[in-house]
Amino acid sequence: MGEPVVREFESLEGMPQAAADGLRQLLWALADTKLLLGYHYGEWTFGTPELEAAVASCSLSQAELGHVRLLHALLRKHWGEDPDALVEVRAVADFANITFLDAPIGDWPACVVMNAVVDLTATRVLATLHGSSFRPLRMSVDKMLDEERHHAHHGIGWFRTLGRRGGDGARAICDAAERALAAAALWLGPAGEPGDAALVAAGVKSTGNAEILAGLIGDVTAMADQAGITVLAPAPASFAHWNPNSRRGSAGGPAEDIVFHLRGAANAMFKLGE
């Protein structure tokens, strides 16, 4: 029996509606997560233990915001979304970022985990879009993945360093990594979620989110082993009230002061025209 023939999509035309809806949700979720990553990395341009880490955080922020721009451009072209409205107007509760990013990243171990685990979660999803049947996305994803390799190197390096050093730093990254994995499990959603299943069936994604979570836990466990620490796999998340649009199990969203700064509302009068 040969491989199933998966059609290539130049646009949404001909794509099953469930897949098109799932793709919109996925792009939102990736863009929101990257937007918050960009914000927090930007904050950590200061306060790092080493100057090199500060420069790296600045660069990581720039890369994530570039990815947001690219993902928003896809949402604009294929769904008619207004990128400004996605950031400036949308209700906080509609933000579909990984919940680890909702609050300020309080210390350096948490920042390292944001880099090594939360950023990795988004990258693992991106990796399933390599070779996507949705051509406009496929033509962008390899460049994003190439840039994410550098993010991973930075995060893994610091994760190992803090773990091997032991003491409070090691305990702090264990705690943060377990919180990050729980947040990632929630964000990825329940196994067999219809939107995700439709994306896999249409060849937009190569694997489903349950497999991504299993791979992520494997990656983090291996990284923890190398760092000489133990990170426990998350308990099964409750999806009783899970919302596929916000990818959350309950009402919430990024903290108001974070969203205020993201939006630049106080400086809106200085925006440049088209």
Binding site: Q62, A63, G66, H67, R69, L70, S140, D142, K143, M144
Partner: protein, 106 residues
């Protein structure tokens, strides 16, 4: 009245556009994947070194300005692509020599 622009004129114009961080043209950096002329319109396919490059708008402006200065060009259409992804392997031999003079290893 100017005749249609030649490929040589187009590439010469593109070579005048330099990256803001390195003393090197976008051609030697390997950012221009293709350029062709249809009547009086120049179609350029190009990429950038990173998706989050803050100089994207500036470089697009510089490309348009350089090409519209070529006699016979009435319009410029730029298609920004990310596939194939730009890597340092895209830099020309000349580009590598220039960067080496500035102490940049690639």
């Amino acid at each position: 009245m100017a005749g249609p622009p030649t490929d040589a004129q187009i590439w010469d114009a593109l070579r005048t556009v330099t990256d803001p961080e390195y003393p090197l043209s976008i051609v030697d950096l390997g950012m221009v994947y293709g350029a062709r002329v249809e009547d009086t319109v120049v179609h350029v396919t190009m990429t950038f070194t990173s998706i989050g490059c803050p100089a994207i708008d500036m470089l697009l402006h510089d490309v348009r300005e350089a090409l519209t200065a070529v006699p016979g060009v009435t319009a410029v259409a730029i298609d920004v692509v990310w596939d194939p992804p730009w890597t340092k392997e895209c830099i020309s031999d000349r580009g590598r020599r220039v960067l080496a003079m500035y102490g940049v290893v690639c």
